[in-house]
């Protein structure tokens, strides 16, 4: 049975390609999901992609990860910087989580420099556009193969 990975994008990421294109790029979230499915295929794994604007919905989703998925990729959007509830949800999981960002958050406003979820993730990948997600999938699959 193929390994399955959960991909979650947080608030406002459904608007990708339509807002602040200079920061977030022209591609839509569906383009990102399409790219992930293609790469997953090459790696012999599966991805299930989700997007939620609500913090509680993300937590509900994360709570289904353990036992059902081999790992989680999360772009928590702005929630990365202040959601202790997300941090607790990730910290409670028994599968690895990778944090991703589309933009280089360190080159932006100071409030974006701190991620409250980074310490409970295996690692962080940010700044490479939609490629951040692809690299995160490669990172998770590599962890599994170790």
């Amino acid at each position: 049975m193929e390994k399955k990975y959960m991909v979650i994008s947080g608030p406002n990421l459904n608007l990708l390609g339509t807002r602040k294109v200079s920061i977030y790029g022209e591609g839509s979230l569906e383009d990102i999901h399409e790219g992930l499915r293609k790469r997953a295929d090459e790696l012999g794994v599966q991805v299930d992609c989700f997007q939620f604007n609500s913090e509680g919905d993300i937590i509900d989703c994360l709570q289904k990860a353990t036992g059902n998925y081999a790992g989680v990729i999360i772009n928590a959007g702005a929630l990365a910087h202040y959601s202790y509830a997300l941090r607790s949800a990730i910290g409670s999981m028994l599968v690895p989580c990778v944090e991703v960002f589309i933009s280089n958050v360190h080159a932006r406003e100071e409030f974006r420099h701190k991620s409250v979820i980074a310490p409970v993730c295996v690692g962080v990948i940010g700044g490479f556009g939609k490629k951040s997600y692809i690299l995160a999938l490669e990172a998770l699959v590599n962890l599994e193969n170790k």
Partner: protein, 151 residues
């Protein structure tokens, strides 16, 4: 992206990899990690240059020397990440797309490691995946263009 020239730069104490704090940094030596990166580079048809220095000035000199002959940099600046304004200025000066990598997840460690002075002048950051962070960093550099991500 065939024929792209990439410099892999290791900062202070990374020559001690595999010999110190194995619990944090893993058991692989720097040479073994360089070998892994070389294998990936061969697949990507990228030409690599490797450099390691314990000296901040040595790293600054080397980064300057990359101007005009190197298309991308994978940089693990070690502890200098967290306080070297000179290194930040060197990266900013040469304007070569640079990816910051770390073996460990720096955000799981001491608070002084949570700040990276070089992150704002890099295109992005990869941390926490052991030696695989370098491989992912190299792949990140293979994009056709970095705009609009390159701030």
């Amino acid at each position: 992206m065939e024929g792209r020239r990439v410099a892999v730069i290791h900062g202070p104490n990374l020559n001690m990899l595999g010999k110190r704090e194995i619990g944090i940094y893993g058991g692989k030596t720097m040479d073994q990690i360089n070998q892994e990166i070389q294998t990936e580079a061969a697949k990507l048809k990228v030409e690599l240059s490797f450099f390691q220095s314990n000296s901040e000035g040595g790293l600054v000199d080397y980064i300057h020397s990359c101007a005009g002959r190197i298309d991308g940099i994978v940089l693990n600046a070690g502890a200098y990440t967290h306080y070297s304004v000179a290194l930040r200025d060197a990266i900013g000066a040469v304007k070569i797309p640079t990816v910051e990598v770390h073996i460990s997840n720096i955000y799981k460690r001491e608070i002084f490691r949570h700040t990276s002075l070089i992150a704002p002048v890099c295109i992005g950051q990869v941390c926490g995946f052991g030696s695989h962070s370098y491989i992912l960093g190299l792949r990140a550099l293979m994009e056709e263009k970095f705009d609009p991500w390159l701030v």
